[in-house]
Symmetry: C3
Subunit: 475 residues, 3 copies
């Protein structure tokens, strides 16, 4: 268990005939360009192009995939260097790295292990399995790598073969990082923002009023009225589009989309500004907002990504101590078909709309998402995501979704990650898992091999390009 | 990708040892007689025995499996020849056929592709894969085939090896087509109606009053009172039984089955006739109807098929333009165990009742349906159906249901189709998928091969015969 | 189909390379000591150590896994010797045994068949498949075996390699059987009680007042007040712990855990004692009880097992005739993440708490349980259980849970059985199913084989020892 050696066949099916088909399918896409239309990378990282500070900051502390499983095994977030009560963490990077290495066995069988192994081995040339005995050697090796120019963000961006990277941004964000990147003649990569208006949906949320103020300032439009808020959002969408954005993204507790009359919406907006809003009104307000975002997508063509059904910040003591995105956003039972009926009745066949549905409740794969994508021309089945981005879950997704939605009404893979170096590993996992799935169809004579190769290729090119409207970024 | 050649091993597992067992299992049932106890074929097609008009009318326009996926890829239902605002479609059959052929790649990996390939190849001798280049040649070939006597409905009925075909019929249907078939000495096939009283369940539905009038006329019994309605239904059930029916079938929004007192039911019935009925009362009325249908099944022995959890006509603009059954009936989250408690407490061990539960929400396979079928002697797990009738879903069904319900408390396959020519293809898919599943049990030593062969055989004979009470049609 | 011969490779994957890895993994745990931390064995059986009376009483009548599937196929519980209206059944043991043998085919593909085959073959040396023809011969053979000392309970306990057996006991139980076993120098096995306070949770349940009386007597503490009830429970927990218990266990309709103020709880308790309690109050009372049990676990360290979502006694006529636990406790749609939020916010990171979550709704595997276990250090994913304890369901469990929770945050297998002789068969099935799963990870290069062997070993030793706090029983 000391050598870290990755098989070229990993994730490919064991049956020899199936594996040999899967190899050919995988080879046809291995290492080809990556579209990353949904990430959480900070664009200023690419503007500054500073070397990454240390292995802990690169692989551990900001990545809730890693920290949550360590936390589940009794490691405190403090010891993992997470910020505490607003102050940066104080644990040394080496100590954090050692915690990961000594807990290496608990990651067995998880996608996190797979990604980290791929990154360490293929990107950084690590040849030893992390453990207490090897932690320091690997740490030193990584530090040395990180200090070289080849491991600066822009160099990695090129090495990853990233054709497009979409970040996630608040409507009030000034997009200066994106502007700087576009203005920089020395950087030719495509990095675009994504319009994520979640902060404006829930008028009972802490920070809603502050968000309105931010938005008003950034759009030069008063958000005192609901129509003002819509106008401000519409303006900012145009600015995002002018900065290259092709998509919006919405995380909501549920997918309810019943519209309100303008008067009703204004009434609730006014009440909310005075802090007087009932739960029912807040919910109606939120559902109407989702409807309005779809309406704007029909106008301006921004793709609409939707991921309902996440309970945010389940453990309040951790939220208070360490802030949000610390591993306890948890899945809720979800549905799409009923709650989206108003939105889809209004816009479901609109030629400008693309609606990509993501879920963390896999019961919706075959019950909601695939049937919707299998009728509505606007609806696409979003790639398996977050808690469902493993080889096993990708296999379940394809098996559950293809019957009704086919391959062509899926979104193509998204990495959804804050961990920059995991991007190629995640896309590689997806390509291997899809090759495995397609190979199974080939050997059971459900698909000819040449058609499977074509599908494998389109799943990483035409299909995401079409779903996310990336045609301008294919060159 | 031009030759259309079907492997004899399709859908059988890739592992050589498993495949060789699966081959033997499949061979033991391949081509044996078909019981089709749940179809949507129009019986007058068999009365008239006219040649099918053209390939579009045979394979595309009336089959929402085909049209919905084309619609999902941007093809309008108008261009697929669907009727529009009550008028028949005007697109030429050849143009519709071309649309299918040019969109052939989008069907990759779907069961629709599999069925169509099987039909074209095995039934019609097509040797080319559909595409823009081959569309006209295939069309002409099909037209030629359809003009021969061998492709008239009755000749196909015999060629398919159909031992029994059950249609789906409104209680007010005069069953004249069924009568004509039974009276025709030149047709010896078994074609029986199925009693489907959905139109009478929801007193708020458009058409409920008209349905009552139809039923009153057909049964010569006033439906002004609820007891009259029940009496009319009871009479029509007897007429259906006299025409060979062995089963009823109910599609309901949910499986609620709480009975009402006679007085309560009469009160709601009276209110509904005046158009004054609350949502709560309408729901209670519907639940009571389900209970009464089970009660009548205990009296007259008609098998009760139940499929709750479908949201009908999700996209109202399409309903208005093109009518119902146009591909946007969509699955809802469903349960059986709680809502069926009143019905099962009353009739769950009744010796006359068979209750076959179908679902489009596969979470109910292992959670509701299998445990119910694994205790109640009256309850059977309906075959995977509609959105779940693919090889992958059949595998999930068997894996989820067998533990608690075994093979013998499942219904046997049903094709549930309007597409007459797809019947043998669908049954063949099911037989291959069951052979694959059983072969897995054999090679993992969960079942001896001779017992697996016996189960494969019973799954297409004794098991559906018993579940649907088809004993009279086995000769 | 007459010889009963068990392959050494049963349940291991068919692919030769995978099977050979799986064999090595299985061999590393086959026959090693069994921890059974959650059973329903009656401890007095071990105190008395009387020979089992007959094969029907050993294999059929008390085991609802067996009786429910026979009942589903039309065999009455009376004919299976179940007690009727409180009187013991009168069917002869031989007649019951014949019913099982003649219905042998209906068990094909079920885990019950697998367990029974394993028990008959490996434990009792039966060499013929049960059938009408062999029923009497096998019966006589079994009777002969049962009359020998080698088949008395204590001899079997030793032969099974049982390192620990935890029974399930009411808080008011006097634990005399456990005391007798511990006091008996001729018995060195570890048999411990489990604290199961279900009877005290629902103040509207028949028997709640009687339960309070029992508890008051056993704890010498009045349960007239809610604080008295809590005090009584606390005392009994201490007594259980003093008798070796390491765990509590709770079966609840739902996992709601919102606490009440002491005053509110007292108010509802008082109302309930007078028989005046609303459904809403009863639910609030029950949710508060769950919270209090977690609170006590933090104090006294008893592991908390939780299994919500079972609808008890679905068929009231069977309950009235044959009592509870007769095969119609059925799964309900369930969730954990929302309802457990109050409990986990209060105690989710408490160093003393272990909370093991079991489900019969497998939608919660990847949606609720794994994400909770993948963040909260206190939460463990309980082994697949009850309706989900088959090879297929174990495979689904591992595939759904490992990504987020890893192997180390699962509980290890529990057999949950009343059927003493099925214990080694059930653990063997689990070990084979886990070997199959791990072998798949090895051959797809997700895990090195030596690490997989280590995990297989830990899954039957360190992992359950840690989850159930069995450190004292490892010698």
């Amino acid at each position: 268990m000391t050598d870290l050696v990755l098989s070229p066949d990993r994730l490919l099916p064991a049956d020899p005939a199936t594996r040999s088909v899967a190899r050919r399918l995988y080879q046809s896409v291995a290492g080809t360009a990556i579209y990353s239309p949904h990430s959480h990378v900070d664009p200023s990282m690419l503007v500054d192009d500073e070397p990454f500070s240390d292995p802990a900051a690169l692989f551990i502390t900001p990545d809730h995939y890693v920290t949550r499983l360590l936390h589940a095994h009794g490691v405190s977030l403090r010891d993992l260097g997470c910020e505490e009560e607003g102050r940066p963490g104080e644990t040394s990077a080496r100590a954090i790295w050692r915690l990961l290495c000594t807990h290496w066995p608990v990651f067995a069988g998880t996608p996190v292990r797979w990604w980290l192994e791929t990154e360490l081995s293929e990107l950084f040339g690590v040849r030893e399995t992390p453990s207490a005995a090897t932690a320091d050697r690997i740490y030193d090796h990584l530090c040395q790598m990180l200090s070289s120019d080849a491991f600066r963000p822009r160099a990695l961006f090129a090495r990853f073969g990233l054709k497009l990277l979409a970040t996630t941004d608040d409507p009030a964000d000034d997009l200066s990082a994106h502007r700087a990147l576009r203005a920089d003649p020395s950087f030719s990569g495509h990095v675009v923002p994504t319009f994520r208006p979640d902060r404006y949906f829930d008028p009972t949320a802490v920070g809603w009023t502050a968000a309105l103020a931010d938005l008003a300032a950034s759009s030069d439009t008063s958000c005192e009225t609901y129509s003002g808020l819509l106008e401000a959002l519409r303006k900012r969408r145009a600015v995002f589009a002018a900065h290259g954005a092709t998509a919006s993204d919405m995380g909501v507790p549920d997918a309810g989309s019943t519209p309100l009359t303008a008067a009703e919406a204004e009434r609730i907006h006014r009440s909310a500004l005075t802090g007087q809003v009932s739960v029912a009104d807040a919910t109606a307000y939120r559902h109407n907002m989702l409807f309005r975002m779809a309406e704007m997508s029909c106008e301006d063509g921004l793709v609409m990504q939707l991921h309902p059904g996440v309970i945010r910040n389940h453990h309040l003591p951790t939220l208070r101590a360490h802030g949000p995105n610390t591993g306890h956003d948890l899945p809720d039972a979800t549905s799409f078909t009923r709650p989206l009926a108003p939105l889809l009745n209004a816009f479901g066949t609109h030629p400008q709309l693309r609606l990509i549905l993501f879920t963390v409740d896999e019961t919706t794969f075959s019950r909601d998402i695939a049937p919707l994508a299998g009728f509505y021309p606007t609806v696409y089945a979003g790639a398996p995501w977050w808690f469902l981005d493993s080889p096993a879950a990708i296999a379940r997704f394809r098996a559950a979704v293809t019957d009704s939605a086919s391959f062509t009404k899926t979104s193509g893979f998204i990495d959804d990650t804050r961990a920059f170096c995991s991007i190629p590993a995640r896309h590689d996992m997806s390509r291997r898992a899809d090759a495995a799935h397609l190979a199974h169809l080939v050997v059971t004579h459900q698909l000819p091999e040449d058609e499977a190769i074509d599908i494998a290729r389109r799943l990483v090119s035409e299909i995401p390009v079409h779903a996310f409207k990336l045609e301008a970024y294919t060159l």
